[in-house]
Protein backbone atom coordinates (compact mmCIF):
# COMPACT_ATOMS: atom_id res chain seq x y z
CA UNK A 1 0.00 0.00 0.00
CA UNK A 2 1.63 3.17 -1.14
CA UNK A 3 0.30 6.63 -1.64
CA UNK A 4 1.24 6.59 -5.30
CA UNK A 5 -1.05 3.67 -6.04
CA UNK A 6 -3.99 6.03 -5.71
CA UNK A 7 -4.04 8.03 -8.85
CA UNK A 8 -5.14 11.61 -9.09
CA UNK A 9 -8.84 12.19 -9.62
CA UNK A 10 -9.14 13.30 -13.17
CA UNK A 11 -11.77 15.44 -14.80
CA UNK A 12 -12.95 14.47 -18.25
CA UNK A 13 -11.77 17.07 -20.77
CA UNK A 14 -14.47 19.31 -22.14
CA UNK A 15 -16.41 17.65 -24.92
CA UNK A 16 -15.46 14.14 -23.88
CA UNK A 17 -18.15 11.74 -22.72
CA UNK A 18 -18.29 11.24 -19.01
CA UNK A 19 -17.41 7.71 -17.94
CA UNK A 20 -20.48 5.52 -18.00
CA UNK A 21 -22.24 4.89 -14.72
CA UNK A 22 -22.68 1.25 -13.76
CA UNK A 23 -26.03 -0.10 -14.98
CA UNK A 24 -29.13 -0.16 -12.82
CA UNK A 25 -29.68 -3.91 -13.24
CA UNK A 26 -26.09 -4.77 -12.45
CA UNK A 27 -25.93 -2.69 -9.27
CA UNK A 28 -29.43 -3.87 -8.34
CA UNK A 29 -28.26 -7.47 -8.67
CA UNK A 30 -25.20 -6.81 -6.52
CA UNK A 31 -27.40 -5.16 -3.89
CA UNK A 32 -29.89 -8.02 -4.06
CA UNK A 33 -27.18 -10.59 -3.38
CA UNK A 34 -25.94 -8.64 -0.36
CA UNK A 35 -29.49 -8.02 0.87
CA UNK A 36 -30.23 -11.76 0.85
CA UNK A 37 -26.95 -12.44 2.62
CA UNK A 38 -27.60 -9.77 5.25
CA UNK A 39 -31.16 -11.05 5.82
CA UNK A 40 -30.05 -14.59 6.59
CA UNK A 41 -27.21 -13.33 8.80
CA UNK A 42 -29.56 -11.39 11.03
CA UNK A 43 -30.81 -13.82 13.66
CA UNK A 44 -33.79 -11.68 14.59
CA UNK A 45 -35.06 -11.51 11.02
CA UNK A 46 -34.52 -15.20 10.47
CA UNK A 47 -36.30 -16.07 13.73
CA UNK A 48 -39.26 -13.70 13.59
CA UNK A 49 -39.78 -13.14 9.91
CA UNK A 50 -38.61 -16.40 8.34
CA UNK A 51 -38.91 -19.21 10.91
CA UNK A 52 -41.97 -17.99 12.84
CA UNK A 53 -44.61 -19.13 10.30
CA UNK A 54 -43.11 -22.64 10.15
CA UNK A 55 -42.93 -22.86 13.95
CA UNK A 56 -46.53 -21.68 14.31
CA UNK A 57 -47.66 -24.10 11.62
CA UNK A 58 -46.08 -27.00 13.49
CA UNK A 59 -47.61 -25.82 16.81
CA UNK A 60 -51.11 -25.07 15.54
CA UNK A 61 -51.10 -28.12 13.33
CA UNK A 62 -50.07 -30.37 16.22
CA UNK A 63 -52.89 -29.04 18.41
CA UNK A 64 -55.75 -28.86 15.92
CA UNK A 65 -54.40 -30.31 12.72
CA UNK A 66 -55.94 -33.76 12.67
CA UNK A 67 -59.52 -32.70 13.09
CA UNK A 68 -61.53 -32.98 9.93
CA UNK A 69 -62.73 -29.64 8.57
CA UNK A 70 -64.85 -31.24 5.88
CA UNK A 71 -65.02 -34.46 3.96
CA UNK A 72 -61.41 -35.40 3.02
CA UNK A 73 -60.09 -32.07 4.31
CA UNK A 74 -58.06 -31.79 7.53
CA UNK A 75 -57.57 -28.66 9.57
CA UNK A 76 -53.84 -29.20 9.10
CA UNK A 77 -54.23 -28.70 5.36
CA UNK A 78 -56.26 -25.54 5.96
CA UNK A 79 -53.58 -24.25 8.32
CA UNK A 80 -50.80 -25.00 5.85
CA UNK A 81 -52.47 -23.15 2.99
CA UNK A 82 -53.29 -20.21 5.27
CA UNK A 83 -49.82 -20.18 6.78
CA UNK A 84 -48.23 -20.03 3.30
CA UNK A 85 -50.23 -16.83 2.77
CA UNK A 86 -49.01 -15.62 6.18
CA UNK A 87 -45.45 -16.58 5.29
CA UNK A 88 -45.61 -14.60 2.05
CA UNK A 89 -46.91 -11.62 4.04
CA UNK A 90 -44.14 -12.09 6.57
CA UNK A 91 -41.19 -12.14 4.17
CA UNK A 92 -42.63 -9.38 1.97
CA UNK A 93 -44.83 -6.96 3.96
CA UNK A 94 -43.41 -7.38 7.44
CA UNK A 95 -39.81 -7.87 6.29
CA UNK A 96 -39.76 -4.80 4.05
CA UNK A 97 -41.72 -2.63 6.47
CA UNK A 98 -39.30 -3.35 9.32
CA UNK A 99 -36.11 -3.38 7.23
CA UNK A 100 -36.73 -0.13 5.36
CA UNK A 101 -37.83 1.70 8.53
CA UNK A 102 -34.56 0.56 10.15
CA UNK A 103 -32.54 1.56 7.09
CA UNK A 104 -34.13 4.97 7.08
CA UNK A 105 -33.39 5.46 10.76
CA UNK A 106 -29.78 4.23 10.43
CA UNK A 107 -29.24 6.69 7.58
CA UNK A 108 -28.61 3.90 5.05
CA UNK A 109 -31.08 5.48 2.66
CA UNK A 110 -29.58 8.94 3.09
CA UNK A 111 -26.13 7.54 2.37
CA UNK A 112 -27.33 5.73 -0.75
CA UNK A 113 -29.07 8.91 -1.91
CA UNK A 114 -25.69 10.66 -1.79
CA UNK A 115 -24.17 8.22 -4.29
CA UNK A 116 -24.83 7.83 -8.03
CA UNK A 117 -26.80 4.62 -7.30
CA UNK A 118 -30.04 4.73 -9.29
CA UNK A 119 -33.02 4.67 -6.91
CA UNK A 120 -34.46 1.90 -9.08
CA UNK A 121 -31.39 -0.25 -8.33
CA UNK A 122 -32.18 -0.03 -4.63
CA UNK A 123 -35.66 -1.38 -5.31
CA UNK A 124 -34.34 -4.06 -7.69
CA UNK A 125 -32.18 -5.24 -4.77
CA UNK A 126 -35.21 -5.32 -2.47
CA UNK A 127 -37.29 -7.21 -5.05
CA UNK A 128 -34.57 -9.84 -5.38
CA UNK A 129 -34.28 -10.18 -1.62
CA UNK A 130 -38.04 -10.48 -1.13
CA UNK A 131 -38.49 -13.04 -3.90
CA UNK A 132 -35.57 -15.22 -2.80
CA UNK A 133 -36.70 -15.18 0.84
CA UNK A 134 -40.37 -15.66 -0.01
CA UNK A 135 -39.73 -18.60 -2.34
CA UNK A 136 -37.62 -20.20 0.40
CA UNK A 137 -40.36 -19.45 2.95
CA UNK A 138 -43.08 -21.04 0.81
CA UNK A 139 -40.87 -24.08 0.12
CA UNK A 140 -40.27 -24.61 3.85
CA UNK A 141 -43.99 -24.33 4.65
CA UNK A 142 -44.97 -26.70 1.85
CA UNK A 143 -42.35 -29.15 3.15
CA UNK A 144 -43.78 -28.92 6.69
CA UNK A 145 -47.30 -29.41 5.34
CA UNK A 146 -46.25 -32.45 3.30
CA UNK A 147 -44.32 -33.96 6.20
CA UNK A 148 -47.01 -33.58 8.86
CA UNK A 149 -50.40 -32.71 7.38
CA UNK A 150 -50.94 -34.76 4.22
CA UNK A 151 -50.41 -31.74 2.02
CA UNK A 152 -49.85 -32.63 -1.64
CA UNK A 153 -48.09 -30.67 -4.33
CA UNK A 154 -50.45 -29.45 -7.06
CA UNK A 155 -51.08 -32.16 -9.61
CA UNK A 156 -52.41 -30.14 -12.53
CA UNK A 157 -50.87 -27.37 -14.61
CA UNK A 158 -53.90 -25.20 -13.82
CA UNK A 159 -53.19 -25.43 -10.08
CA UNK A 160 -49.48 -24.65 -10.59
CA UNK A 161 -50.54 -21.63 -12.61
CA UNK A 162 -52.87 -20.51 -9.79
CA UNK A 163 -50.03 -20.98 -7.29
CA UNK A 164 -47.74 -18.90 -9.51
CA UNK A 165 -50.05 -15.92 -9.94
CA UNK A 166 -51.28 -15.90 -6.34
CA UNK A 167 -47.66 -16.04 -5.20
CA UNK A 168 -46.40 -13.30 -7.51
CA UNK A 169 -49.34 -10.90 -7.15
CA UNK A 170 -49.54 -11.50 -3.40
CA UNK A 171 -45.82 -10.91 -2.92
CA UNK A 172 -45.84 -7.74 -5.03
CA UNK A 173 -48.94 -6.33 -3.30
CA UNK A 174 -47.61 -7.06 0.20
CA UNK A 175 -44.17 -5.68 -0.71
CA UNK A 176 -45.57 -2.41 -1.98
CA UNK A 177 -47.76 -1.98 1.11
CA UNK A 178 -44.72 -2.82 3.26
CA UNK A 179 -42.58 -0.19 1.53
CA UNK A 180 -45.40 2.33 1.85
CA UNK A 181 -46.06 1.60 5.51
CA UNK A 182 -42.35 1.86 6.38
CA UNK A 183 -42.72 5.63 5.93
CA UNK A 184 -45.64 5.94 8.34
CA UNK A 185 -43.89 5.26 11.63
CA UNK A 186 -41.88 8.15 12.96
CA UNK A 187 -38.99 5.81 13.72
CA UNK A 188 -38.03 2.16 13.45
CA UNK A 189 -38.68 1.70 17.16
CA UNK A 190 -42.40 2.25 16.82
CA UNK A 191 -42.70 -0.19 13.95
CA UNK A 192 -44.61 -2.59 16.25
CA UNK A 193 -47.86 -0.58 16.33
CA UNK A 194 -47.53 0.32 12.67
CA UNK A 195 -46.35 -2.93 11.13
CA UNK A 196 -46.29 -5.95 13.42
CA UNK A 197 -49.60 -5.38 15.24
CA UNK A 198 -51.81 -4.82 12.17
CA UNK A 199 -50.16 -7.81 10.50
CA UNK A 200 -50.85 -9.98 13.57
CA UNK A 201 -54.51 -8.94 13.66
CA UNK A 202 -54.86 -9.48 9.94
CA UNK A 203 -53.42 -12.99 10.23
CA UNK A 204 -56.02 -13.88 12.88
CA UNK A 205 -58.96 -12.71 10.79
CA UNK A 206 -57.65 -13.79 7.36
CA UNK A 207 -57.44 -17.52 7.96
CA UNK A 208 -53.77 -17.84 8.90
CA UNK A 209 -53.92 -18.61 12.64
CA UNK A 210 -57.59 -19.60 12.66
CA UNK A 211 -59.25 -21.47 9.78
CA UNK A 212 -61.15 -18.86 7.79
CA UNK A 213 -64.47 -20.71 8.05
CA UNK A 214 -64.22 -20.32 11.87
CA UNK A 215 -63.80 -16.54 11.67
CA UNK A 216 -67.06 -14.63 12.47
CA UNK A 217 -68.69 -13.24 9.32
CA UNK A 218 -68.27 -9.56 10.28
CA UNK A 219 -64.51 -10.13 10.68
CA UNK A 220 -64.48 -12.05 7.40
CA UNK A 221 -65.91 -8.95 5.73
CA UNK A 222 -63.16 -6.78 7.21
CA UNK A 223 -60.51 -9.31 6.17
CA UNK A 224 -61.88 -9.27 2.61
CA UNK A 225 -60.72 -5.66 2.29
CA UNK A 226 -57.08 -6.74 2.60
CA UNK A 227 -54.97 -8.94 0.32
CA UNK A 228 -54.03 -11.61 2.90
CA UNK A 229 -57.50 -13.21 2.94
CA UNK A 230 -57.51 -13.46 -0.85
CA UNK A 231 -54.03 -14.96 -0.92
CA UNK A 232 -55.13 -17.62 1.59
CA UNK A 233 -58.22 -18.42 -0.44
CA UNK A 234 -56.20 -18.69 -3.64
CA UNK A 235 -53.70 -21.00 -1.94
CA UNK A 236 -56.47 -23.21 -0.52
CA UNK A 237 -57.73 -23.61 -4.07
CA UNK A 238 -54.27 -24.90 -4.98
CA UNK A 239 -53.60 -27.28 -2.10
CA UNK A 240 -57.06 -28.46 -1.02
CA UNK A 241 -59.44 -30.83 -2.82
CA UNK A 242 -62.26 -29.27 -4.82
CA UNK A 243 -64.96 -30.07 -2.26
CA UNK A 244 -63.16 -27.80 0.28
CA UNK A 245 -64.56 -24.84 -1.68
CA UNK A 246 -67.78 -25.36 0.30
CA UNK A 247 -65.90 -24.07 3.37
CA UNK A 248 -65.37 -20.67 1.73
CA UNK A 249 -67.85 -17.87 2.49
CA UNK A 250 -69.03 -17.80 -1.12
CA UNK A 251 -68.83 -21.62 -1.41
CA UNK A 252 -66.45 -21.09 -4.32
CA UNK A 253 -62.74 -20.29 -4.87
CA UNK A 254 -63.56 -16.88 -6.40
CA UNK A 255 -60.39 -16.60 -8.53
CA UNK A 256 -61.80 -13.58 -10.34
CA UNK A 257 -62.35 -11.59 -7.15
CA UNK A 258 -58.94 -12.69 -5.84
CA UNK A 259 -57.26 -11.42 -8.98
CA UNK A 260 -59.12 -8.12 -8.76
CA UNK A 261 -58.39 -7.63 -5.06
CA UNK A 262 -54.66 -8.28 -5.47
CA UNK A 263 -54.41 -6.11 -8.57
CA UNK A 264 -56.21 -3.27 -6.78
CA UNK A 265 -53.79 -3.51 -3.86
CA UNK A 266 -50.82 -3.45 -6.23
CA UNK A 267 -52.09 -0.21 -7.76
CA UNK A 268 -52.94 1.23 -4.34
CA UNK A 269 -49.61 0.10 -2.87
CA UNK A 270 -47.70 1.67 -5.74
CA UNK A 271 -49.51 4.97 -5.23
CA UNK A 272 -48.80 4.74 -1.48
CA UNK A 273 -45.08 4.16 -2.15
CA UNK A 274 -44.77 6.95 -4.67
CA UNK A 275 -46.49 9.45 -2.39
CA UNK A 276 -44.99 8.53 0.97
CA UNK A 277 -41.51 7.16 0.33
CA UNK A 278 -38.83 9.20 2.10
CA UNK A 279 -35.06 8.74 2.01
CA UNK A 280 -34.65 10.45 5.37
CA UNK A 281 -36.27 10.07 8.81
CA UNK A 282 -39.18 12.34 9.76
CA UNK A 283 -38.04 15.59 11.30
CA UNK A 284 -34.65 15.38 9.59
CA UNK A 285 -35.04 18.25 7.20
Amino acid sequence: MTATSLSRPSTPPVGEEQPRLPGTWRTGLVRGRLEVRAFFRERQAVAFVFAMPAILLILLGSIFGHEAAAHHVTVGQLFTAGMIAGGIGSTSFQNLGLAIAAERERGTLKRLRGTPLAPAAYFVGKIIQVFVCTIAEVAVLIAVGMAFYHLHLPTSAAKWWTLAWVFVLGTVACSLIGIGISSLGRSATNSFPVITLPFLVLQFISGVYVPFNNVPPWLQHIAAIFPLKWMGQGLRSVFLPAQAATLEPGHAWQHGQTLLALAAWIVGGLVLCLTTFRWRPTGDG
Binding site: L6, G107, R113, G114, T115, P116, G285
Partner: protein, 281 residues
Amino acid sequence: MTSETAIHVRGLRKSYGQTPAVDGIDLDISRGEVFALLGPNGAGKTTTVEILEGYRHRDGGTVAVFGQDPASAGRNWRARIGIVLQLTAEPELTVAEMVTMFAGFYPKPRDPGEVIELVGLGGLSARRGRQLSGGQRRRLDVALGIVGRPELLFLDEPTTGFDPEARRQFWELIGHLASEGTTILLTTHYLPEAEALADRVAVLASGKVVALGIPDSLGGRVTQDAQVSWEAPDGRRTLQTATPTKVVTELAAEFSGEVPGLAVTRPSLEDVYLELIGADR
Protein backbone atom coordinates in the same frame (compact mmCIF):
# COMPACT_ATOMS: atom_id res chain seq x y z
CA MET B 1 -17.10 31.67 -12.33
CA THR B 2 -14.47 29.70 -14.22
CA SER B 3 -13.95 26.01 -14.85
CA GLU B 4 -11.48 26.15 -11.98
CA THR B 5 -14.37 26.91 -9.63
CA ALA B 6 -15.68 23.91 -7.73
CA ILE B 7 -18.28 25.64 -5.58
CA HIS B 8 -19.97 28.96 -6.25
CA VAL B 9 -22.51 30.34 -3.76
CA ARG B 10 -24.26 33.72 -3.76
CA GLY B 11 -26.78 34.98 -1.23
CA LEU B 12 -27.63 31.54 0.13
CA ARG B 13 -30.59 31.55 2.50
CA LYS B 14 -32.39 28.86 4.45
CA SER B 15 -34.79 29.21 7.37
CA TYR B 16 -36.37 26.63 9.65
CA GLY B 17 -39.71 28.12 10.53
CA GLN B 18 -39.03 31.73 11.47
CA THR B 19 -35.38 31.06 12.38
CA PRO B 20 -32.82 31.80 9.67
CA ALA B 21 -30.13 29.08 9.72
CA VAL B 22 -28.24 30.46 6.72
CA ASP B 23 -28.61 34.16 6.21
CA GLY B 24 -27.00 35.29 2.97
CA ILE B 25 -23.76 33.37 2.45
CA ASP B 26 -21.34 33.91 -0.46
CA LEU B 27 -18.58 31.37 -1.14
CA ASP B 28 -16.16 30.62 -3.95
CA ILE B 29 -14.10 27.48 -3.62
CA SER B 30 -11.54 26.54 -6.25
CA ARG B 31 -10.67 23.10 -7.48
CA GLY B 32 -7.98 21.47 -5.40
CA GLU B 33 -8.64 23.73 -2.46
CA VAL B 34 -9.16 22.55 1.12
CA PHE B 35 -11.77 24.86 2.54
CA ALA B 36 -13.06 24.89 6.11
CA LEU B 37 -16.34 26.26 7.40
CA LEU B 38 -15.53 27.11 10.98
CA GLY B 39 -18.10 28.06 13.55
CA PRO B 40 -19.92 27.09 16.70
CA ASN B 41 -22.88 24.71 16.77
CA GLY B 42 -25.90 26.34 15.19
CA ALA B 43 -23.86 28.68 13.00
CA GLY B 44 -25.35 27.16 9.83
CA LYS B 45 -22.39 24.99 8.76
CA THR B 46 -24.28 21.72 8.37
CA THR B 47 -27.25 23.37 6.65
CA THR B 48 -24.88 25.01 4.15
CA VAL B 49 -23.06 21.76 3.44
CA GLU B 50 -26.29 19.78 3.10
CA ILE B 51 -27.56 22.27 0.53
CA LEU B 52 -24.30 21.91 -1.41
CA GLU B 53 -24.60 18.10 -1.21
CA GLY B 54 -28.10 18.24 -2.64
CA TYR B 55 -29.70 16.86 0.52
CA ARG B 56 -31.54 20.02 1.47
CA HIS B 57 -33.43 22.64 -0.48
CA ARG B 58 -32.58 26.30 -0.11
CA ASP B 59 -34.97 29.21 0.33
CA GLY B 60 -32.96 31.65 -1.74
CA GLY B 61 -29.68 32.44 -3.49
CA THR B 62 -27.76 30.71 -6.23
CA VAL B 63 -25.62 27.60 -5.78
CA ALA B 64 -23.43 25.85 -8.33
CA VAL B 65 -21.26 22.83 -7.59
CA PHE B 66 -19.23 21.91 -10.68
CA GLY B 67 -21.51 24.27 -12.55
CA GLN B 68 -24.71 22.47 -11.56
CA ASP B 69 -27.43 23.20 -9.07
CA PRO B 70 -27.20 20.43 -6.43
CA ALA B 71 -30.97 20.55 -5.95
CA SER B 72 -31.51 19.19 -9.47
CA ALA B 73 -28.16 17.58 -10.35
CA GLY B 74 -28.25 14.00 -11.57
CA ARG B 75 -26.33 10.80 -11.12
CA ASN B 76 -23.33 11.88 -13.21
CA TRP B 77 -22.87 14.83 -10.87
CA ARG B 78 -23.19 12.56 -7.82
CA ALA B 79 -20.44 10.35 -9.25
CA ARG B 80 -18.02 13.30 -8.92
CA ILE B 81 -18.71 14.12 -5.29
CA GLY B 82 -18.10 12.15 -2.10
CA ILE B 83 -19.98 12.64 1.14
CA VAL B 84 -18.71 11.39 4.47
CA LEU B 85 -21.70 10.85 6.75
CA GLN B 86 -21.43 9.73 10.33
CA LEU B 87 -23.78 6.79 10.53
CA THR B 88 -24.37 3.44 12.10
CA ALA B 89 -22.78 0.79 9.92
CA GLU B 90 -24.90 -1.88 8.23
CA PRO B 91 -24.94 -4.42 11.05
CA GLU B 92 -24.76 -7.61 8.97
CA LEU B 93 -22.41 -6.62 6.16
CA THR B 94 -18.63 -6.76 6.43
CA VAL B 95 -16.28 -3.85 5.86
CA ALA B 96 -15.13 -5.39 2.57
CA GLU B 97 -18.71 -6.04 1.39
CA MET B 98 -19.77 -2.48 2.12
CA VAL B 99 -16.76 -0.80 0.50
CA THR B 100 -16.89 -3.11 -2.54
CA MET B 101 -20.61 -2.54 -2.99
CA PHE B 102 -20.20 1.24 -2.86
CA ALA B 103 -17.29 1.05 -5.30
CA GLY B 104 -19.74 -0.63 -7.66
CA PHE B 105 -21.95 2.47 -7.76
CA TYR B 106 -19.24 4.63 -9.40
CA PRO B 107 -17.80 4.72 -12.90
CA LYS B 108 -14.13 4.97 -11.84
CA PRO B 109 -13.85 3.76 -8.25
CA ARG B 110 -10.69 3.31 -6.24
CA ASP B 111 -9.65 -0.21 -5.41
CA PRO B 112 -11.74 -1.22 -2.35
CA GLY B 113 -8.82 -3.05 -0.74
CA GLU B 114 -6.58 0.01 -1.06
CA VAL B 115 -9.25 2.26 0.42
CA ILE B 116 -9.73 -0.09 3.39
CA GLU B 117 -5.97 0.02 3.97
CA LEU B 118 -5.85 3.77 3.55
CA VAL B 119 -8.45 4.48 6.24
CA GLY B 120 -6.72 2.08 8.61
CA LEU B 121 -9.18 -0.82 8.55
CA GLY B 122 -6.66 -3.15 6.91
CA GLY B 123 -7.00 -6.06 9.32
CA LEU B 124 -10.76 -5.70 9.69
CA SER B 125 -12.08 -6.37 6.18
CA ALA B 126 -14.07 -9.40 7.29
CA ARG B 127 -15.55 -7.73 10.36
CA ARG B 128 -19.29 -7.02 10.33
CA GLY B 129 -20.73 -3.58 10.91
CA ARG B 130 -22.23 -4.53 14.25
CA GLN B 131 -18.81 -5.56 15.54
CA LEU B 132 -17.06 -2.28 14.74
CA SER B 133 -16.12 0.18 17.47
CA GLY B 134 -17.15 3.81 17.19
CA GLY B 135 -13.77 4.84 15.81
CA GLN B 136 -13.77 1.99 13.30
CA ARG B 137 -17.25 2.95 12.10
CA ARG B 138 -16.00 6.46 11.44
CA ARG B 139 -13.15 5.07 9.35
CA LEU B 140 -15.68 3.04 7.39
CA ASP B 141 -17.71 6.25 6.86
CA VAL B 142 -14.62 7.84 5.34
CA ALA B 143 -13.91 4.77 3.19
CA LEU B 144 -17.45 4.89 1.76
CA GLY B 145 -17.07 8.61 1.06
CA ILE B 146 -13.83 8.31 -0.90
CA VAL B 147 -14.12 4.93 -2.66
CA GLY B 148 -15.84 6.55 -5.65
CA ARG B 149 -12.70 8.66 -6.31
CA PRO B 150 -14.55 11.95 -5.76
CA GLU B 151 -13.24 15.19 -7.21
CA LEU B 152 -14.96 16.99 -4.33
CA LEU B 153 -15.26 15.58 -0.84
CA PHE B 154 -17.66 16.86 1.83
CA LEU B 155 -16.74 16.28 5.46
CA ASP B 156 -19.15 17.49 8.14
CA GLU B 157 -17.50 17.66 11.58
CA PRO B 158 -15.25 14.76 10.57
CA THR B 159 -13.29 14.30 13.77
CA THR B 160 -15.95 14.90 16.43
CA GLY B 161 -15.38 12.28 19.08
CA PHE B 162 -11.94 11.24 17.81
CA ASP B 163 -9.11 10.78 20.29
CA PRO B 164 -5.97 12.85 19.54
CA GLU B 165 -4.20 9.94 17.85
CA ALA B 166 -7.15 9.13 15.59
CA ARG B 167 -7.50 12.83 14.78
CA ARG B 168 -3.85 13.06 13.76
CA GLN B 169 -4.19 10.01 11.49
CA PHE B 170 -7.33 11.47 9.98
CA TRP B 171 -5.59 14.78 9.28
CA GLU B 172 -2.82 12.87 7.49
CA LEU B 173 -5.41 11.11 5.34
CA ILE B 174 -7.04 14.43 4.41
CA GLY B 175 -3.63 15.86 3.58
CA HIS B 176 -3.01 12.85 1.37
CA LEU B 177 -6.31 13.25 -0.49
CA ALA B 178 -5.66 16.98 -0.90
CA SER B 179 -2.20 16.28 -2.30
CA GLU B 180 -3.87 14.15 -4.98
CA GLY B 181 -5.93 17.14 -6.01
CA THR B 182 -9.22 16.36 -4.29
CA THR B 183 -11.20 19.48 -3.46
CA ILE B 184 -12.30 19.25 0.15
CA LEU B 185 -14.98 21.15 2.02
CA LEU B 186 -15.02 20.42 5.71
CA THR B 187 -16.92 21.87 8.61
CA THR B 188 -15.51 22.04 12.09
CA HIS B 189 -16.02 23.88 15.34
CA TYR B 190 -12.50 22.95 16.25
CA LEU B 191 -10.13 25.78 15.41
CA PRO B 192 -6.83 23.82 15.32
CA GLU B 193 -8.44 21.50 12.77
CA ALA B 194 -9.18 24.36 10.40
CA GLU B 195 -5.66 25.69 10.95
CA ALA B 196 -4.06 22.30 10.32
CA LEU B 197 -6.02 21.33 7.22
CA ALA B 198 -7.49 24.27 5.40
CA ASP B 199 -6.03 26.48 2.70
CA ARG B 200 -8.80 28.95 3.46
CA VAL B 201 -11.30 29.30 6.25
CA ALA B 202 -14.71 30.95 6.40
CA VAL B 203 -15.89 31.70 9.92
CA LEU B 204 -19.65 31.34 10.26
CA ALA B 205 -21.75 32.83 13.02
CA SER B 206 -25.55 33.03 13.06
CA GLY B 207 -25.78 32.01 9.42
CA LYS B 208 -23.37 34.66 8.13
CA VAL B 209 -19.75 34.62 7.01
CA VAL B 210 -18.03 36.89 9.53
CA ALA B 211 -14.49 36.33 8.28
CA LEU B 212 -12.85 34.71 5.29
CA GLY B 213 -9.22 34.10 4.48
CA ILE B 214 -6.14 31.99 5.02
CA PRO B 215 -6.05 30.76 8.61
CA ASP B 216 -3.21 33.11 9.63
CA SER B 217 -4.92 36.28 8.45
CA LEU B 218 -8.33 35.59 9.92
CA GLY B 219 -10.06 38.74 11.02
CA GLY B 220 -7.08 40.86 10.00
CA ARG B 221 -5.01 39.27 12.74
CA VAL B 222 -1.66 40.33 11.25
CA THR B 223 -2.66 43.95 10.93
CA GLN B 224 -4.51 44.18 14.18
CA ASP B 225 -3.25 46.36 17.01
CA ALA B 226 -0.74 44.85 19.38
CA GLN B 227 -0.88 45.12 23.12
CA VAL B 228 2.17 46.48 24.95
CA SER B 229 2.14 46.06 28.70
CA TRP B 230 4.71 46.74 31.38
CA GLU B 231 5.12 47.43 35.12
CA ALA B 232 4.90 51.20 35.64
CA PRO B 233 5.83 52.65 39.06
CA ASP B 234 2.07 53.07 39.74
CA GLY B 235 1.07 49.53 38.63
CA ARG B 236 0.71 47.49 35.43
CA ARG B 237 -0.07 49.49 32.31
CA THR B 238 -1.43 48.21 28.98
CA LEU B 239 -1.49 50.09 25.69
CA GLN B 240 -3.23 49.16 22.41
CA THR B 241 -1.07 50.34 19.54
CA ALA B 242 -0.52 49.92 15.83
CA THR B 243 3.17 50.82 16.33
CA PRO B 244 4.46 48.60 19.14
CA THR B 245 8.13 49.05 18.17
CA LYS B 246 7.88 52.80 18.59
CA VAL B 247 6.19 52.40 21.98
CA VAL B 248 8.85 49.96 23.19
CA THR B 249 11.65 52.28 22.02
CA GLU B 250 10.10 55.17 23.91
CA LEU B 251 9.64 53.00 26.98
CA ALA B 252 13.27 51.88 26.81
CA ALA B 253 14.33 55.54 26.77
CA GLU B 254 12.00 56.33 29.64
CA PHE B 255 13.35 53.49 31.81
CA SER B 256 16.88 54.02 30.39
CA GLY B 257 17.34 50.35 29.73
CA GLU B 258 15.31 47.28 30.73
CA VAL B 259 11.53 47.81 30.83
CA PRO B 260 10.14 45.89 33.84
CA GLY B 261 7.63 43.14 32.95
CA LEU B 262 7.54 44.09 29.25
CA ALA B 263 5.17 42.05 27.06
CA VAL B 264 4.15 42.63 23.47
CA THR B 265 1.25 40.42 22.29
CA ARG B 266 -1.02 40.09 19.32
CA PRO B 267 -4.37 38.34 19.68
CA SER B 268 -4.08 34.61 19.09
CA LEU B 269 -6.12 32.99 16.35
CA GLU B 270 -8.29 31.61 19.14
CA ASP B 271 -8.89 35.14 20.50
CA VAL B 272 -9.78 36.40 17.04
CA TYR B 273 -12.10 33.48 16.45
CA LEU B 274 -13.90 33.86 19.76
CA GLU B 275 -14.32 37.56 19.12
CA LEU B 276 -15.67 36.90 15.61
CA ILE B 277 -18.32 34.46 16.74
CA GLY B 278 -19.25 36.78 19.61
CA ALA B 279 -18.39 34.32 22.35
CA ASP B 280 -17.85 35.47 25.93
CA ARG B 281 -14.31 35.17 27.12
